[in-house]
C-alpha cells in the first residue's frame, strides 16, 4: 500500500532539512506476486526501480503533477496566447486602468480564472504560467550544480583522505555553520543586484553544497575499503578512474534522492529571495516576486494575487518531495547507506 511507504521514509533531516537521515522505523519488505513474477522474467535494473517507484502512489501523483507543471512552463505562450505576464489582455483594454483588481471568475475564460492584478489588470494566470519557468529552471539547475559541486568535493575528500580531506572538511564546516538563508540573503544583496536568473542560480549552487559533500564523503569512506576498489588499485587503475567508474556509481542512489530534495528546497528558497526583493526582479516575473507585488493588495482584502502563486509553490514543493520519497524507496537508499 502506497501510504505505508510514506511512513517509512522521511524528508526531514537535521539543520536545513536537506540531507536524508535515517529517522523513523524500518518498513518490512513485503514480497508481492509482482516481485515473484519479476523474478521469472528477467528485468533490467531500471525496470526494477520503476516497478518499485510505481507502487508508491503519492510519488506517482507527484511525478504526474510535476510533469504537468513542466508542460505548463514550456507551453506558457500556448496556454495564454497573446497575453504575456506583463501585457494587458485585449478585452481588459476597455476597462479603466488603475481600478480595482478582479477576483477569480470564469468570465473571459481563462484569463481571469485566478483573478487579475490591480492597476494594470494583468492576468494572474499568465503570470503564474510564465513564473513557473523561472521557479522550475532555477531550482532544477541549482540543484544539479549544487549536487555536482558537493559530490566532487565529497568524493575527493573521502577518497584521498589525509590533509586534503582535513582541509576540505574544515571548509565544509565553515559553510555548514552559517545558516543557509541568512547567508544567501547577504550574498544576494551584494551580488545579485541585476536580479538575473543566472546570478541566482550561481549563488544558490555555490553556497549550498556543504551538506551533500558531507554525505558523499561518508559514503565514500566506507566504499574506499571495499574489495573491488582494492582490486582496481591492485591492477593499477588511476585514482580518478576509480572514483568515477568504480565508486561514484555506487553512491548514485542517495545522491539522486538528495538532489530531488534540493530541488524542493530551492523552489522555496528562490521564492523567498525573490519575495524579499533580493532575487529575480521585475520585469522577469517569478512566483516569489509576484508575492512581493501582491503584498499590499492583501491588506485591502484582495487575497487572490498572493494566494495562487503561493499555492503553486506549495504544489511544486509537495510534488517534488513525494517524488524524492518514492525514489528513496525505489532506489532502496537506506540499505545502501547502511
Amino acid at each position: 500500500m502506497a501510504s505505508q511507504n510514506l511512513s517509512g521514509g522521511d524528508i526531514f533531516g537535521g539543520g536545513e532539512g536537506m540531507i536524508p537521515s535515517a529517522v523513523g522505523g524500518y518498513e518490512p519488505i513485503v514480497i508481492t506476486d509482482a516481485d515473484v513474477e519479476s523474478n521469472l522474467k528477467s528485468l533490467s535494473q531500471f525496470e526494477i526501480y520503476w516497478r518499485r517507484f510505481r507502487r508508491h502512489r503519492l510519488a506517482l501523483i507527484g511525478a504526474g503533477t510535476l510533469l504537468l507543471l513542466v508542460l505548463m512552463a514550456i507551453f506558457a505562450p500556448l496556454i495564454t496566447p497573446g497575453v504575456g505576464p506583463t501585457t494587458v489582455p485585449a478585452f481588459e483594454l476597455g476597462v479603466p486602468l488603475g481600478g480595482a483588481a478582479h477576483p477569480p471568475t470564469l468570465d473571459n475564460f481563462p484569463w481571469r480564472i485566478f483573478g487579475t492584478t490591480n492597476m494594470l489588470n494583468y492576468s494572474i494566470l499568465a503570470q503564474i504560467t510564465y513564473g513557473a519557468r523561472v521557479s522550475l529552471l532555477v531550482s532544477f539547475l541549482s540543484a544539479v550544480f549544487t549536487t555536482i559541486i558537493g559530490t566532487v568535493i565529497g568524493s575527493v575528500s573521502g577518497y584521498f583522505g589525509g590533509w586534503v580531506d582535513n582541509l576540505m572538511m574544515r571548509i565544509t564546516d565553515v559553510f555548514l555553520s552559517i545558516p543557509l538563508l541568512p547567508l544567501l540573503i547577504t550574498i544576494a544583496a551584494i551580488y545579485a543586484g541585476s536580479g538575473s536568473v543566472e546570478s541566482i542560480i550561481v549563488i544558490l549552487s555555490i553556497f549550498s553544497w556543504a551538506g551533500i559533500s558531507r554525505l558523499v564523503r561518508s559514503l565514500i569512506l566506507s566504499l574506499r575499503e571495499v574489495e573491488f576498489v582494492e582490486a582496481a588499485k591492485a591492477v593499477g587503475v588511476r585514482d580518478w578512474r576509480i572514483i568515477f567508474r568504480h565508486i561514484l556509481p555506487n553512491v548514485l542512489s542517495p545522491v539522486i534522492v538528495t538532489l530531488t530534495l534540493f530541488i524542493a528546497t530551492f523552489v522555496s528558497l528562490e521564492a523567498t529571495l525573490d519575495f524579499l526583493g533580493l532575487g529575480i526582479k521585475y520585469p522577469t516575473i517569478s512566483w516569489g516576486n509576484m508575492l512581493t507585488n501582491a503584498q499590499n493588495d492583501l491588506l485591502v482584502g484582495d487575497w487572490w494575487w498572493a494566494f495562487f502563486p503561493g499555492l503553486f509553490l506549495v504544489i511544486t514543493v509537495l510534488a517534488v518531495n513525494f517524488i524524492g520519497d518514492g525514489l528513496r524507496d525505489a532506489l532502496d537508499v537506506r540499505t545502501r547507506i547502511d
Binding site: S177, P179, P182, T186, L276, F307, V314
Partner: protein, 337 residues
C-alpha cells in the same frame, strides 16, 4: 567529558576564523563599490578628494590582509563597527533588537514542541490508521509551505478578513504610544501591565504560528519515528510480557526514551529557526534582529550584516556542541573522551 568539551571549543576557533575570512571576503569583494559607497550614498555628491579622505578615514585604503586583521581585532573586542544607516554602533543596533527576536523565537519554539511531540506520539501509537495517514499528508503539506507565504495567508485571512489578530508589528503603537522596548512602551507597561501583555500576546499569535509551522512538521515526524523505534525494542516487549498495563508501558517505559532525542535535537534546530525568524519578522514588521538583518542587507549596511552573520554562525556552532554534549548527558551509553 570536560576534556572533550574543551577540545571541541578549541576546534571551534579555526572554523570561526574560516567564517570570518569568508564573511570578510564577501563584503570586501562587493562589486557595487563596497562600504565606501554605502557610506556616502550617491557618489555624484562627493568630489574625488573627499572620497579619498573618507576612504582613508574608514581605513579602506589599506591592503586587504591588514584590513582583515584590524577588523578581526575590533570584533574580538566586541566592536562590530558603526552602522552606516543609523550611525550608531552595530552592537547597539543589534542588541536593542534581540529581546523582540527572543520573545518570538522562544514562543514559536514552545508552541512547536507542545504541538509536535503529542502529535508524533499519537500517530505512532495509531500507526497505519486513518489518523496516522491523515497526519502524514498534513505534515507533508505543512512542510512544503514556504514560511513567507504562510505568513501572508495568515495576514490575509485571519488578519484582514476575520480581524482575529492584530498586525503588523509587536504592539499597538497607537495605544501604547511607542514600539516595544521604547520608553513610552515601558511607561504604558508599568501603568497597564495586563493590557500591555495581552496586546503583545495578540500580536505574537500569527508570527509565532508562522515560525512554528515548519518545525511542527519536522519534529512531529521525528517524534513519530523515535516512538516507533522505541516501541519495537526488547525492553518494551519484556514490559508487555510481564503483564504491565499498556498505559504504563507506553507512558513510563517507551515515552521517556523516545522524547530524549527530541530534547537533544533542539540545538540543531537553531539555523532553521533563525532563517524562519528572518522571514517571519520581515512579513509581520516584527522589530527584531531578523528584520534588521534584511533591511541592512538591502541597503548594504555592512557592519550590521557582517556582525549578525558572525553572531548567528557562532551561535550555530555553540548549539551544535551543546547538542552533542546533551546526548551524553541524557544517554549514559554515550561517552565522549
Amino acid at each position: 567529558m570536560l576534556a572533550y568539551t574543551i577540545r571541541r571549543l578549541l576546534l571551534m576557533i579555526p572554523v570561526l576564523l574560516g567564517i570570518s575570512i569568508m564573511v570578510f571576503a564577501i563584503s570586501a569583494s562587493n562589486p557595487n563599490g563596497g562600504e565606501l559607497y554605502s557610506f556616502i550614498g550617491n557618489p555624484k555628491n562627493v568630489t574625488q578628494s573627499q572620497l579619498k579622505a573618507l576612504e582613508h578615514r574608514l581605513g579602506l585604503d589599506k591592503p586587504l590582509p591588514v584590513r582583515y586583521v584590524l577588523w578581526l581585532g575590533s570584533i574580538l573586542h566586541g566592536d562590530l563597527g558603526i552602522s552606516y544607516l543609523t550611525h550608531e554602533p552595530a552592537t547597539e543596533a543589534i542588541g536593542s533588537r534581540v529581546p523582540a527576536t527572543l520573545i518570538l523565537m522562544v514562543t514559536a519554539f514552545l508552541l512547536q514542541e507542545i504541538i509536535a511531540i503529542p502529535l508524533g506520539i499519537f500517530s505512532a501509537l495509531r500507526r497505519g490508521t486513518l489518523f496516522d495517514q491523515t497526519f502524514s499528508v498534513i505534515v507533508y503539506t505543512l512542510y512544503s509551505i514556504p514560511t513567507f507565504w504562510l505568513g501572508l495567508m495568515l495576514i490575509a485571512f485571519l488578519g484582514v478578513e476575520l480581524r482575529l489578530f492584530p498586525f503588523p508589528g509587536m504592539v499597538d503603537v497607537l495605544k501604547t504610544g511607542g514600539d516595544f522596548g521604547t520608553a513610552a512602551w515601558s511607561e504604558y507597561f508599568h501603568a497597564h501591565p495586563f493590557e500591555a501583555l495581552t496586546d503583545l500576546g495578540a500580536h505574537l499569535v500569527m508570527p509565532a504560528v508562522t515560525l512554528a509551522a515548519v518545525g511542527i512538521a519536522g519534529d512531529s515526524r521525528y517524534m513519530r519515528g523515535q516512538m516507533l523505534e522505541v516501541l519495537s525494542q526488547d525492553y518494551v516487549r519484556t514490559a508487555k510480557a510481564k503483564g504491565l498495563p499498556q498505559r504504563i508501558v507506553i507512558w513510563k517505559h517507551a515515552l521517556r526514551n523516545a522524547v530524549l532525542p527530541i530534547i537533544t535535537n533542539i540545538g540543531l534546530q537553531l539555523p532553521g529557526l533563525i532563517g524562519g525568524a528572518v522571514v517571519t519578522e520581515q512579513i509581520f514588521a516584527w522589530p527584531g534582529t531578523g528584520r534588521l538583518f534584511i533591511s541592512s542587507a538591502q541597503s548594504f549596511d555592512y557592519a550590521v550584516v557582517i556582525g549578525l552573520t558572525m553572531i548567528i554562525s557562532a551561535l550555530t556552532l555553540l548549539f551544535n556542541l551543546l547538542t552533542d554534549l546533551s546526548y551524553a548527558l541524557v544517554d549514559p551509553r554515550i561517552r565522549y573522551s
